[in-house]
């Protein structure tokens, strides 16, 4: 073998075919190398140091001019969000013919996780649904809305509507400070009930105390129905837990905790009571035995098929209940623990922010404002059945759509009167929902962790997640 090699070697001067194609090929090879170098060249670009709370120094304007503008709005694909925004967008475009409204959707968990990343790219939408604040104010990713609030008069709305998205200058505390987000409408949590089934177990009016509600659950169980539906796979169990805490009057405690007030804690007697009650209800069979395996979709579907009497859910599903069950479904807030107490429930703005890097901030603000006009509010109620934000003296939209929607509107009115709006504990830190709440509640109702350990775990995760 090596002979052949040497033979070839000494076989005389080699006739090389240096054709032009050859040179071209070598050139190509070198070119390929250069191309891949250029392709792969790491020019770490942005070394921008984000300054909290600062936005472009361009003054805000309520006049959108006449140049064509494409307003990009991103929202989550739950319920009828997309439909409502599209209708809102169509109506908005009639008032501002030079603006085209483009709606993009993404699933809720992805928005919650990817939100900060999405808005930090130059490609960011102009208005985006933003469930959790995270570090975005501190990192300077959101536009300060104070100028718009002043220009459009949002600062005259009921304060509790705006509080949840007021953030201190260093981004560490909420509840006061500059405004960074606005809710087009508000979520509302409570108990939906199947009117037929409820009447069958003897419920004539919504229960006045938690004890009354518990008695109803027992009756439902005895009648062979699923008393209370919820979903453990996606963490919605926490809604019941928090509602129980609120009925014991823990609203201030919880608000402080969610707003990250220094020294706030959830390791309290009320929390322990609520966790214990939740476990008792699960053990008594008031919740379905496979609660950890079902997600919100399936829970809603089961309720709609008539298997259950009550479901603890949020009004993002009101439209679905209304369509599927029509006259047969109603809504009430979880009552306080003692009769005559103030009502309190979780509610938060379906919040939208204008990214600091957005190209069309003025258009985004105008769109927001449109949602608070009577026309916009009516559209929101019609398309989503949700409670719209807006001035306290705006018309309460009446809808012929269904009793359950009217129930939610009335309930929200009650909440405003009692000043009972509380923020969701799922928003306490950027990751507490996916990292702590979902798994820990699953462990709790499966009996794998004691209520005392559970509450301690909530607090310790909260602390470590808030640590810089």
């Amino acid at each position: 073998m090596s002979n052949d090699y040497r033979r070839g070697r000494t076989a005389g001067p080699r006739k090389w075919h240096r054709s032009s194609a050859d040179v071209r090929f070598r050139g190509f090879a070198v070119g390929a190398v250069i191309v891949s170098v250029v392709l792969a060249a790491c020019t770490p670009g942005s070394s921008e140091s984000p300054t909290p709370g600062q936005t472009a120094s361009k003054p805000v304007s309520t006049d959108l001019g006449s140049d064509p503008v494409t307003l990009r709005v991103e929202t989550d694909n739950s319920g009828s969000n997309q439909a409502s925004l599209e209708e809102l967008g169509a109506a908005f475009q009639k008032n501002y013919p030079n603006v085209t409204v483009d709606i993009i959707t993404e699933q809720f968990t992805v928005l919650q996780q990817n939100g900060p990343r999405i808005i930090s790219t130059p490609d960011t939408p102009d208005l985006i649904r933003f469930p959790t604040l995270g570090n975005t104010v501190k990192d300077g990713l959101l536009a300060n809305l104070d100028p718009y609030a002043a220009a459009y008069g949002w600062d005259k709305f009921p304060a509790t509507q705006l509080d949840q998205w007021r953030v201190s200058a260093d981004g560490s505390r909420r509840g006061s400070g500059s405004l960074y987000g606005m809710g087009l409408s508000f979520s509302l949590t409570g108990t939906y009930y199947n009117k037929e089934e409820a009447a069958a177990i003897g419920m004539t009016t919504p229960p006045a105390t938690v004890a009354d509600f518990e008695a109803l659950l027992a009756k439902a169980k005895a009648a062979g129905k699923v008393p209370l539906l919820s979903s453990g796979q996606d963490g919605n169990l926490f809604l019941i837990f928090q509602a129980l805490m609120l009925s014991e009057g823990a609203k201030e405690q919880l608000s402080d905790w969610v707003f990250n007030e220094p020294g706030a804690t959830i390791d309290t007697p009320e929390a322990l009571d609520a966790a214990t009650t939740l476990v008792e209800w699960t053990d008594a069979g008031y919740l379905p035995s496979d609660v950890n395996a079902i997600n919100n979709t399936e829970a809603v579907a089961r309720f709609n098929s008539g298997d259950a009497v009550f479901i603890y859910d949020g009004n993002w599903n009101t439209a679905t209940y209304n369509t599927e069950m029509g006259e047969n479904v109603g809504f009430f807030l979880l009552p306080p623990s003692s009769s005559g107490g103030k009502s309190s429930s979780m509610s938060d703005p379906f919040n939208y922010v204008i990214p600091a890097k957005a190209a069309n901030k003025d258009a985004a603000a105008a769109f927001l404002n449109f949602a608070y006009t009577n026309e916009g509010r009516a559209i929101m109620v019609e398309t989503t059945g949700q409670v719209p934000g807006g001035p306290a003296d705006a018309d309460l939209p009446t809808t012929g759509a269904g009793p359950v929607i009217q129930d939610t509107l009335t309930a929200f009115q009650q909440l405003n009167t009692d000043d009972g709006i509380a923020p969701y504990i799922g928003n306490a830190t950027a990751s507490i929902y996916t990292d702590t709440i979902i798994p820990q509640f699953q462990l709790l109702v499966a009996g794998k962790v004691s209520p005392a350990d559970f509450v301690k775990r909530l607090q310790s995760d909260y602390t470590s997640q808030l640590a810089p």
């Binding site: 073998m1 070839g8 080699r14 790491c42 739950s78 699933q107 809720f108 790219t121 979709t297 993002w316």
Partner: protein
């Protein structure tokens, strides 16, 4: 008599295996045909098949946009990867390259690397390059990530080409480029065409990189778009099933059309 008995057992086994294989897909299909908004139980023959669900799925997934995006990614990844890997495989197999062994060793190490290990730096790198949420964000890393396997694959082919061939060509005065373009490349068609098929498959099925680096589901790969349709707040199980079926259809069709080559290629590859 004995032969007949022997034939029954394998047939039953085969039937069982085939049944088990298609069952999940059939279940998806039967659900996709149910009326939307319901939660049908398992496998039920739809009394009134809602074929329209697939049309809805098409729109919900913005399927055309998704297909186009996937095509862009595939075109960006596969030809370049195959070309680079063939060149490298050829060189490693047929040329004496100082330090070539080290290069090959580095590549082999990459065969075992989990993509998760480089997810974070890739994300930050793409962010710095301003490529997040574009197809390039997937194309570039995938080319790099495919190099270990692809170079190994092509090298295995070239190593088995007998040197008498190169000898004969050299005597005729051919250069490396000649050799490569006119002899080795055509000879290697089975190798690089099957590589291309494999890379095509892996690219359309790439999920993790797609959901991390591209936030708009319609700009991802086919598989990546699935990430947007599974989540706690989707309200339509039937639609999710229909969309899933829609998404797995293109690659399945491609596979069925080319299955003979495909399976042969994979089996040969593993035998190497």
């Amino acid at each position: 008599m004995v032969r007949a008995r022997v034939q029954i057992a394998p047939t039953i086994v085969l039937a069982l295996l085939v049944l088990l294989t298609v069952l999940p897909l059939v279940s998806l299909f039967s659900t996709a045909l149910q009326p939307q908004g319901t939660v049908p139980s398992g496998l039920t023959l739809p009394r009134d098949p809602h074929w329209g669900n697939f049309a809805d799925a098409w729109n919900a997934a913005e399927f055309l946009k998704l297909l186009r995006s996937t095509l862009v990614i595939v075109i960006g990844v596969v030809p370049v990867s195959v070309l680079f890997a063939t060149m490298a495989g050829y060189a490693l197999a047929q040329m004496r390259i100082p330090g070539g062994g080290i290069a090959f060793g580095l590549l082999i190490f990459g065969l075992t690397l989990p993509f998760e290990a480089i997810l974070i730096p890739l994300y930050l790198q793409m962010k710095a390059l301003g490529l997040l949420n574009t197809q390039l964000a997937i194309i570039l890393p995938l080319i790099g990530l495919y190099m270990p396997f692809s170079v190994f694959w092509m090298r295995s082919h070239f190593v088995n080409v007998p040197k008498e061939l190169t000898e004969a060509a050299e005597i005729d005065g051919a250069t490396a480029r000649h050799m490569f373009q006119y002899i080795q490349l055509p000879l290697a068609v089975p190798a690089w065409s099957s590589l291309a098929m494999l890379l095509f498959l892996w690219t359309t099925n790439q999920f993790m990189l797609a959901i991390v680096l591209i936030s708009d589901p319609t700009k991802r790969t086919l598989a990546g778009a699935l990430g947007a349709f599974q989540g706690e707040r989707t309200t339509n199980v039937v639609l999710v099933c229909a969309v899933s079926l829609l998404i797995i259809t293109p690659t399945t069709l491609a596979f069925l059309a080319l299955q003979r080559h495909f399976v042969k290629a994979l089996l040969q590859g593993i035998a190497k």
